[in-house]
């Protein structure tokens, strides 16, 4: 079934966000986090917190751990292609080695849990950046 979720252009931004398809919540947390953590301009503040490289990864890893069972139940294999677990952000991590190890362990654990299931292709659509 198809549902296009079309917000009203020209409406107040806050209203427009509210009609997101996620189920009636005000702007989807994922959309907000994606933008305020990942986008937006990065200028060095006096207080140095390397969001992309450290904290976010920890958060994402925690989400993975918390959600493995749930996700398996519904047959979702997003972690296999989750960019947060495989992207360049990882390589940039200051203590990337520790996280990488943790990631590796997670992956192995996922493999164990998933053994017997088909391996799936990694989608490429989301990896390209095309300006116009």
């Amino acid at each position: 079934m198809t549902s296009a979720n079309v917000t009203q252009p020209g409406a107040e931004a806050a209203q427009a966000y509210g009609s997101s398809a996620g189920g009636g919540q005000v702007a989807n947390l994922g959309d907000i986090l994606e933008r305020v953590l990942d986008k937006g301009i990065v200028i060095a503040g006096d207080i140095q917190v390397n969001l992309l490289d450290i904290e976010l990864l920890t958060i994402k890893l925690r989400l993975v751990i918390a959600s493995l069972d749930t996700a398996r139940e519904v047959g979702i294999d997003w972690w296999e292609r989750d960019p947060w677990l495989s992207s360049k952000a990882f390589d940039r991590a200051e203590d990337g080695r520790g996280l990488e190890r943790e990631n590796q362990q997670l992956r192995e654990r996922v493999k164990e849990l998933e053994s017997g299931r088909s391996s799936r292709e990694i989608p490429q659509a989301g990896r390209k950046s095309r300006g116009s």
């Binding site: 305020v36 937006g40 207080i47 917190v49 969001l51 989400l63 959600s67 989301g126």
Partner: protein, 264 residues
């Protein structure tokens, strides 16, 4: 009195604080401005016990705190964006004093001004596409039905069936991704600039179907209606996909100065 820092939300040319009087920032207080070099930073004084380096490290690990703070940060940026073009700061950009912010405005003034010029009169719209899992499943069963191993036993038949199933899945996935590509190509025609972001995990979207496209489009203000119509038309053309349109957003994905606007 606890030591304080200054949390910066965004940079614009001019900002009227009057419409922002009711808005509360990440620290729960009103925002103020710091001006220098013809630019204005929208900022808030925040206590270091909550927003200092150590505290931030700790708090950012707390998803509830993160959500509240991210929403407050976005709330201020969104409100300021109603007044005109702005360059949004990434979450947790904190300075020790007004003079430090003024110095950044002065040093990077040309960058900020060119970014402001680029996004002036434009807003960001987001389009996400989710693969409908039912479509994939029915494709699988269609292929599975017509197969039997020629002369082989049950084991061979199973393997053949399994192989067909996997290749059907692969084809379905390839088609799905091709649809995503063509949707993006069509929508890009409306946009001044585009960014393709990495797909979000279901934990963040609350939607179980896998996300196969997560793109941002920088549109002239007048383009929103045509763009929304185009998204609706594309949704009709691609019954196997669910499309979601969000916006208008402040131009988070396009505010980078220089060439690093898109991280993906």
């Amino acid at each position: 009195m606890a030591p304080s820092g200054i949390w910066v939300y965004a940079i614009a040319e001019r900002v009227d604080l009057t419409p922002l009087a009711q808005i509360r920032g990440v620290g729960g207080t009103q925002v103020r401005t710091v001006a220098a070099a013809g630019l204005t930073a929208v900022a808030e004084d925040v206590g270091l016990p909550e927003f200092g380096e150590e505290a931030l490290r700790r708090n950012l690990e707390d998803l509830d705190w993160l959500e509240t703070t991210a929403r407050a940060h976005h709330g201020v940026i969104d409100a300021v964006a109603q007044q005109g073009p702005l360059v949004p700061m990434r979450l947790a950009t904190v300075y020790s004093g007004d003079e430090r912010i003024a110095a950044v405005l002065t040093e990077r003034g040309a960058d900020f001004r060119s970014a402001l010029h680029r996004i002036s009169g434009r807003m960001e719209w987001g389009v996400k596409a989710y693969a409908d899992r039912q479509t994939e499943a029915s494709d699988d069963s269609a292929v599975t039905a017509g197969t039997s191993g020629p002369g082989g036993g049950a084991g061979a038949a199973y393997l053949q069936r399994r192989r067909n199933q996997l290749s059907a899945q692969k084809n379905a996935r390839r088609e799905t991704l091709a649809s995503a590509e063509s949707i993006h190509a069509e929508l890009s025609r409306y946009a001044e600039e585009t960014r393709v972001h990495t797909p979000q995990a279901p934990q963040l979207t609350g939607i179980k179907a896998p996300m196969i496209l997560n793109a941002a489009y920088l549109l002239d203000s007048g383009q929103g209606e045509d763009f929304a119509a185009a998204v609706a038309a594309l949704a009709d053309q691609h019954p196997g996909l669910r499309l979601e349109l969000t916006g208008p957003w402040p131009p988070y994905s396009f505010a980078g100065t220089g060439g690093e606007g898109g991280l993906t």
